[in-house]
Amino acid sequence: MTLDIQWSLFRTEIGLVLLSLGALVLNLFLKDNEKRGKTLATLAMAGVSILFIDLCFHWGHFGTSLKGTLIQDGISFYFKILFFLSAFFVLFMAREYQGQLKRGYEEFTLLILFALVGMVFLVSAGDFLLFFVALETLTICMVIMTAYLRDKESSIEAGVKYLILGALSTAVFLYGLSFIYGSTGTTVYTDIQAKLTAMEKIPGSFIFGMILVISSLGFKIAAVPFQLWTPDIYEGAPTPVTAYLAIGSKVAGFAALVRLMSTVFSPAQQELTTLLGVLSGLTILYGNLGAIPQTNIKRLLGYSSIGHAGYLLIGLVTFYSSGKEALLYYLLSYLFSTGGAFLVLVAIANHLKKDEISELAGLSQRSPVLAAGMLLALLSLAGVPPLGGFFAKFYLLWAAVKSHHFWLALIGVLNIITSLYYYLKVVKVMYLDPPADEMPLRVSFEQKAMQYIAIAGVLVLGIWPGPFVKLAQIAFTSS
């Protein structure tokens, strides 16, 4: 038996694994201190950038390999772009955050890279087994990173919570997978799809397994009713890890759902749409209403990320009409907005004692750049033009109305008001309240540069969405 492997299709994956292993080896020869930690993070950023550029230039090298186990198509490329962007942001945050880590400076970078490996394989997987391995790689790295601040109780607590709930969701996943395998006799997506289409009626056991798999991914994306962990863990985890959970892990969850819905689950679309519709409405309501009373900025962003998961679910509800492109667009804009907000939090991490919103008071006078970055990020999340979040919400709601989900659209638009309220509360503190300490904050050149990248992303996506919409459309049509 020969393997039909085409190595050239997997240059990104191979490059990334080599990069991670190289960093691991390099780690052995470096002293464990802050300075070396920064060096390694910078090297990792350079490596990720090179792979990213390489990836962009190889758009179009599509195909499947290993008997359908690995898929390279528009979807995998698009999501890999998102993953690389988020890893780039998070690596930079990790680099700036080195001062807060007391030990294991370099390993932090390594974990980010390994999690990235997991995400990249997750979206390229064409087989449930590979999918599972990738998912677990991601989850385990996330658990370790969440509990990274070992002398901080909240971090440990968050880590344990994530570990237990993560293990539970893994168990649910495997249980669901066993039903899917039981009803179709294979774990390869294309084979499952072919078997199902051949059947007259989709077996109940398959539906049951599908619901379980979606539940376990619902944990990843923080959708109701699997969202309870989010605020606690967002609050307790080190800030770069919180950011990674928001713009890496969540995007990966959606990547997995998109992949599954466009292949394995597509025969059962009717059942799916109803289920997801209910979840989407509830998630939007829970996230946005829960965010209102929050006083901790990381908890606030945690609730708001639940709310955004709800909006993104609209994209899955309308997946089979025209919501899927809107979903991809929303993810891109969400990545830049949330990334921008967390960049600010990391930049002022030394000045935040408890991550309370009130600690941001007078930020606009202490550092106009950071305040502007936060302002634009939050307004984009709220969906204010001319920022990316506006067009993203517009596109999703357009898709919802197009497929006659009026209730969902109504919940969606009304919660724009709710979200505007709690985001503006933060803006008010930054711009209106007098600072406790008048000293201007020192913002390094790199921090400014990254902030400008995030701002530019948010603005370009909002002002000139055309090409990105096109990109999202191409992602689905080309394979």
């Binding site: 033009p385 109305v401 309220y421 209106l432 969405p465």
Partner: protein
């Protein structure tokens, strides 16, 4: 890249100005001011240019620029003006120009102030010039949100509460209307947001009546919130009282009119049947606006609150005019929008000028200013007269036309609306007496009058009010050319034998005929309360 026409430049000037401001250090105040003034002056120049060049005989959309934006959704940057938006755009450009000049007296954080202010201006221009429904909404939201920091940071009094309330109210209205607009997109089945295409389609294929029945109120209420449709008016007096002068000017002058403009453009024009169903109700709400807000204004102590409620009360006339759906009333409404915009901005500018020196706006604290600052006091008195609707000022023409239209259509509301004049006269005269006349309080000995170039913006505004008040024909032909297609869809103009009455006096005036009242006022079949 196509060469952009004057309308796009009206919109682009403040955007470019704001972008330049980013790169100017905040200490260089003179440069900041110069750039801002130049950018709005250039807008004004292009707006005047367009106003003069607009071909009133041909009518329709002119100076059109179109650039594809997101083709798959039918979104394009599509700008141009018809007779209605031309007039309102000119008003906005004038107010933006005066507003920026007034803004230059801001002391703290001038750079940020001007940046937000220029974005606010750009949003207003955008709504008026957009010919794509997506961009109308886009710019509308762009105009609403910069107000939050503008009031929050630079305002006075209960500013944090006021600015949050204002922003949330206006956004709530906007998203409700947004749902209706999305539904509109799919109901037409054209797969485009292009307003001109949809308008053409609707002319030949009226939208389903059921759709019009539920979508029209969404638009009416959604954009009515910014027009201070009762009971959604409470954000306005509070917001204006807290806002810095130039923001009150633009908000009361322009942003409120954007609500009326969008109701006219998207509601009445595209859903005429829905409008006919709901407008009798709106007429009575308009009465509540006129009478109730007028009475509330009467009992206010803070002068900015008086002006704020007064502007809510005046919005009642705009609502009533829109509700009539007849030629004379619609033309009068647009005319009144122009007049009220200028008048309201002037009022807030004058009060702001005094407030900057006195730091109090309470009625009992002011008094006898006529002796101390005669120029400002005289203008304030003139502004009050305009507000009351005295003939000779532009406001009179607009209100007169609206009432003529309302008399035929809704006699009951019209009677109350006329009574509104008395209320307005009551509180305006009371205000003038308490502030500009009466005994002078010695604590204001240091008060100084506007000098030299400072007088220019105020003079410009008052001269416009008087000039247009005597020469309404400067505006009416373009307004009439803009409302004609809307009225045609309403079905009220086509069968109307005195079609020329759309124009206040026939245009062009037939040689040798003297304008008699029958041209001004042709009775239209009355409905509702009159029967």
């Amino acid at each position: 890249m196509p060469i952009l026409g004057p309308i796009s430049w009206v919109l682009l000037s403040p955007v470019l100005g704001a972008s330049f401001l980013f790169f100017v250090p905040k200490e260089k105040k003179e440069i900041l001011k110069t750039i801002s003034v130049i950018s709005v002056a250039s807008s004004l120049f292009f707006a005047v240019f367009a106003f003069l060049k607009y071909d009133r005989n041909e009518a329709g959309y002119q100076f059109v620029d179109k650039i594809d934006w997101v083709p798959s959704l039918g979104i394009a940057y599509h700008a141009g003006v018809d007779g209605i938006s031309l007039v309102l755009l000119l008003m906005t450009a004038i107010l933006a120009f005066t507003g920026v000049i007034v803004s230059c007296s801001v002391k703290e954080r001038l750079k940020e102030y001007l940046i937000f202010y220029l974005f606010l201006i750009a949003g207003c221009f955008g709504v008026l010039s957009a010919l794509n429904i997506f961009f109308m909404y886009f710019f509308y939201e762009t105009a609403v949100v910069p107000v939050f920091p503008l009031i929050g940071v630079w305002g006075s009094g209960n500013k944090e509460y006021a600015t949050m309330k204002l922003t949330l109210y206006l956004t709530l209205g906007a998203v409700l209307a947004f749902l209706a607009l999305l539904a509109l997109y799919f109901v037409t089945g054209l797969n485009t947001f292009d307003f001109t295409v949809i308008e053409q389609y609707v002319t030949n294929n009226p939208l389903p009546i059921d759709f019009q029945r539920w979508a029209f109120p969404l638009i009416m209420v959604g954009f009515g919130v910014i027009l201070t449709l009762w009971p959604f008016h409470t954000w306005s007096p509070m917001g204006y009282a807290a806002a810095p002068t130039s923001v009150s000017m633009l908000h009361a002058g322009v942003l409120k009119k954007l609500g009326a403009y969008l109701i006219l453009r998207l509601g009445i024009s595209l859903m005429p049947e829905g409008a006919k169903i709901w407008m009798p109700t709106v007429a009575w709400i308009a009465v509540i606006n006129i009478v109730y807000c007028g009475l509330v204004a009467f009992s206010q102590k803070d002068i900015k609150f008086i002006l704020g409620y007064s502007s809510c009360s005046h919005m009642g006339y705009i609502l009533l005019g829109l509700a009539c759906l007849t030629p004379i009333a619609l033309n009068g409404t647009v005319f009144f929008m122009f007049a009220h915009g200028i008048m309201a901005a002037l009022g807030f500018a004058l009060v702001g000028f005094i407030y900057d020196q006195t730091h109090t706006r309470m009625l009992e604290d002011w008094g006898g200013f006529g002796k101390k600052i005669p120029f400002i006091a005289a203008l304030f008195t003139l502004m009050s007269m305009a507000s009351v609707g005295l003939p000779g000022f532009a406001n009179f023409i607009g209100e007169f036309m609206i009432l003529l239209g309302a008399w035929d259509k809704y006699r009951g509301p019209a009677i109350f609306a006329v009574a509104g004049f008395v209320i307005t006269a009551g509180y305006m005269l009371k205000t003038v007496r308490a502030t500009m006349q009466g005994p002078f309080n010695a604590r204001w000995d240091n008060l100084s009058d506007a000098k030299g170039i400072q007088k220019a913006p105020y003079l410009l505004l008052i001269l416009l009010l008087i000039g247009v008040g005597f020469l309404p024909m400067l505006l009416l032909p373009s307004i009439a050319s803009g409302t004609a297609p809307i009225l045609k869809r309403l079905g009220s103009a086509a069968e109307d034998p005195a079609d020329k009455s759309i124009v206040f006096a026939a245009y062009p005036l037939p040689q040798g005929t003297s304008p008699d009242l029958s041209i001004i006022h042709t009775p239209v079949k009355s409905e509702g309360s009159a029967s």
